[in-house]
Symmetry: C2
Subunit: 88 residues, 2 copies
Amino acid sequence: MIESTPLKNVSSNINIEFDSEKQAQLIYDSILLEFETAPDYRSSMTITVEGKSIIINIDAEDSTSFRASINSAIKWIKLSLEINNLTN
Amino acid sequence: MIESTPLKNVSSNINIEFDSEKQAQLIYDSILLEFETAPDYRSSMTITVEGKSIIINIDAEDSTSFRASINSAIKWIKLSLEINNLTN
């Protein structure tokens, strides 16, 4: 099935809240590394840290690329949580 | 690996823009049917239609349930786009 064209754009902002600012910064630093080495998402994704939260904005032309971006973002977060788990 | 506890909450709002209000309403009506028969997402997900856009809000305790909700939402949208494709 080819995706129909009426879908013009899928945009989302994801707010991930942590226990502390230190936690958010730690995870943000490790995600940033992943993010910068996965350039194909860069045009459609931005990652920022604000207080206890990491905010991911995604802007995609279709649901397939939107899903790919979200899945990557979640994978990075889970990975950094696991690394954080090991180092604590 | 058990997910570390510092992650308190993942919330997101997803804005899906269509070509027309009629299109958005058509897809919304078909998604709503799916949404209402998948109650386990209901506590963490709301779906509304505003003009040309469908807006999905997700509020999850961890990234796993967040990913499940988003994947369902995208699956419903793709399905309704395909149905829409058949009926046009």
